[in-house]
């Protein structure tokens, strides 16, 4: 544990020295302070055990492409020919030299490999000198390697990670999971949760369960949201009191994330909880709960759907109407959102009458 903390400190210390060596204005000093934590993430946790060298001059800032597909570690793992933990030694125009520390999938043909870089949708490439992480690579036409996805060339990984037996996805997930389960700063653990949330295997679920007990509210709430969205009934039970009686100390966006995750619930055993969530003061929670009930397409959900016809929020009422229409096959009573808004009483009356006479 101590070693890990020391390793974490090396690049941060060097970054600090780099900034100190410049005559800093007040603005730059403030900038340096926040950069220390941020750089720790962006160089893939800054857990490198190798000293930075002369090629480690900061790269020009990369402005993000703004609309992007979310990270999907399952897809990256599946489509990569090789996955390696390594460190970028240098970037030479359209390629980079990558030192390979560990192989997670496939066979690397050398300890140091050249990788062909690719531009993302905005024409920029996201690999930077001294970047450390788990790289997802594809063989190219020349027999070498290229970045698999220019938007996500790598994810965070400790260079001293243990590569376990198991499928490539299990290995990749376990490696990222080390960042969550070992001592790290909160930013690193939050990023680990983000990556793990995109993997729907048992190992990721187990790691997220650990995350849902973390002290950091962001790690805890984001882990809980990921678990609820993957239909984890235990997590939903934990989430219920939070959603019904939101603790004041939890930021609203974290509560909104948890509310949204409820729509992913599919297990019919969750119906009693979903029904109770329909009494939440948050319309986001109620919309997600009624949407989950709608998508179950089972008669056990009818009672809760009928109750939702009287909800004060139109989105909730719409989901109830459309859910009942889908369940009964009455397509003529299944309007589009806009049509419902124009004359919703007609639809509400129909479904209430249906409920009385069924």
């Amino acid at each position: 544990m101590k070693k890990h903390k020391v390793l974490l400190g090396i690049p941060i210390l060097i970054l600090c020295l780099g900034f100190v060596s410049v005559s800093l204005s007040g603005v730059l000093r403030e900038r340096a302070a926040r950069s220390r934590v941020a750089a720790a993430i962006e160089t893939a946790t800054a857990t490198s055990n190798k000293p930075l060298n002369a090629t480690d001059a900061p790269a020009a800032p990369i402005r993000a492409a703004f609309l992007l597909s979310p990270l999907n570690i399952e897809r990256l793992t599946s489509e990569a020919d090789i996955i390696v933990i390594g460190r970028v030694n240098s970037i030479n125009g359209p390629s980079a030299s990558l030192s390979v520390d560990k192989v997670v999938k496939g066979v690397a043909n050398a300890r140091t490999v050249d990788i062909e870089l690719m531009a993302d949708a905005t024409g920029q490439q996201r690999v930077t000198s001294s970047q450390v992480g788990m790289f997802f690579l594809k063989t190219n036409a020349k027999g070498g390697y290229r970045v698999l996805d220019p938007d996500y060339p790598s994810v965070m990984a400790p260079p001293d990670a243990v590569v376990i037996d198991g499928s490539p996805l299990d290995r990749a997930v376990s490696i990222v999971g080390e960042l969550l389960t070992k001592p790290n700063n909160d930013d690193v653990r939050r990023e680990a949760v983000r990556v793990l949330s995109s993997a729907r295997n048992e190992r990721a679920t187990e790691l997220l369960r650990q995350g849902s007990k973390a002290a950091d509210p962001v790690v805890r709430m984001q882990s809980l949201s990921a678990l609820v969205s993957r239909d984890d009934l235990g997590a939903l039970e934990t989430a219920e009191p939070i959603l019904l009686h939101a603790p004041a100390r939890i930021e609203q966006y974290l509560l909104d994330n948890l509310s949204a995750a409820v729509e992913g619930v599919k297990d019919p055993k969750a119906i009693p909880i979903l029904q109770r969530l329909l009494s939440s003061s948050s319309s986001r929670t109620r919309v997600a709960a009624v949407a989950a009930l709608r998508h179950m397409h089972i008669s056990d959900a009818i009672e809760a759907l009928v109750i939702s016809l009287d909800d004060p929020n139109r989105e909730v009422r719409y989901e109830a109407v459309i859910g009942l229409a889908e369940l009964t096959g009455q397509n003529q009573w299944a309007p589009a959102v806009d049509k419902f808004a124009l004359n919703e009483q007609r639809y509400l009356d129909h479904w209430k009458e249906w409920s009385r006479t069924r």
Partner: protein
């Protein structure tokens, strides 16, 4: 029926109208029951669904296809052949609200019903805030794309774009943050995030890593539209309008209107 497939109600991918009497020669119609409309955009991944072909296997001398209901949602071509082509020109307001009929040598078919689906709204999935070495912070606001029945779009590639409808408006006196370019991309699935970053350290005020709790110092904002069906800025169907707000330590979508046709 799997919700993720985004197929509403009891609509099947393909069906056939049933003749009511075996001895009759009432024509039958076969083809898809679902079409898609993107406000004039024609994404290649949906090329089989923005324009479809309906067929009758009944052979005859004369064919006459017509739209019986929902004529404002589809247009027909090759109406006097055995295979009619439908192009979407509007979206359904009810499931199966477009009715097609064919007359073959004077024999009238049963009505064949179609739903024209369209991207209609965004559903907020999650928001995350993280530190950025280059820009102070990075906020990711993730959405799924829904149709007019609030179903998730199918698991196909889908182009999207953002259009900034106004220039930058300063909220912080003396600020010199810059408006970024609006852009588009093609997603592998109908889920995406909007990344909002702070600014480089040479700008004023200096961007900060996300604070806890999040800060309330606004720096600048502008209006943003999000459109689906095309990667070209401003093209496709608008599904959301909002204020693209940059705080000193995080970003946000505010004053959200979705749907926003």
């Amino acid at each position: 029926m799997e919700h993720a497939d985004g197929i509403p109600f009891c609509v099947e991918e393909s069906s056939t109208t049933e003749p009511t009497a075996p001895a009759e020669v009432k024509p039958t119609i076969t083809g898809p029951n679902t079409m898609w409309w993107f406000n004039g955009a024609t994404p290649s991944s949906y090329s089989d669904l923005t324009q479809i072909t309906l067929s009758t296997e009944d052979t005859g001398i004369s064919y006459s296809w017509s739209v019986v209901t929902g004529g404002s949602k589809v247009s027909l071509s090759n109406q006097n052949t055995a295979n009619v082509t439908l192009a979407s020109v509007g979206m359904s307001q009810d499931a199966n609200d477009v009715g097609i009929q064919v007359v073959v040598d004077g024999q009238v078919s049963d009505q064949f019903n179609i739903t024209v689906r369209a991207p209609h709204s965004l559903n907020l999935s999650s928001t995350t805030h993280s530190s950025s070495a280059n820009f102070g912070y990075r906020t990711e606001i993730t959405y799924t794309i829904r149709d007019q029945f609030t179903n998730l779009l199918p698991g196909r590639a889908i182009p999207v774009n953002e259009h900034f409808a106004t220039g930058i408006v300063a909220d912080f006196s003396g600020m010199d943050w810059e408006q970024t370019d609006d852009s588009g991309t093609t997603l592998p699935l109908p889920i995406f995030f909007d990344a909002i970053e702070g600014e480089t350290s040479s700008h004023f005020p200096t961007a900060q890593a996300p604070q806890s709790p999040l800060g309330s110092t606004r720096v600048c904002h502008w209006s943003q539209d999000i459109l689906v069906g095309s990667a070209t800025v401003g093209a496709g169907r608008r599904v959301q309008s909002n204020t693209f707000q940059k705080y000193r330590d995080h970003g946000a979508h505010e004053n959200v209107t979705s749907p926003a046709p």
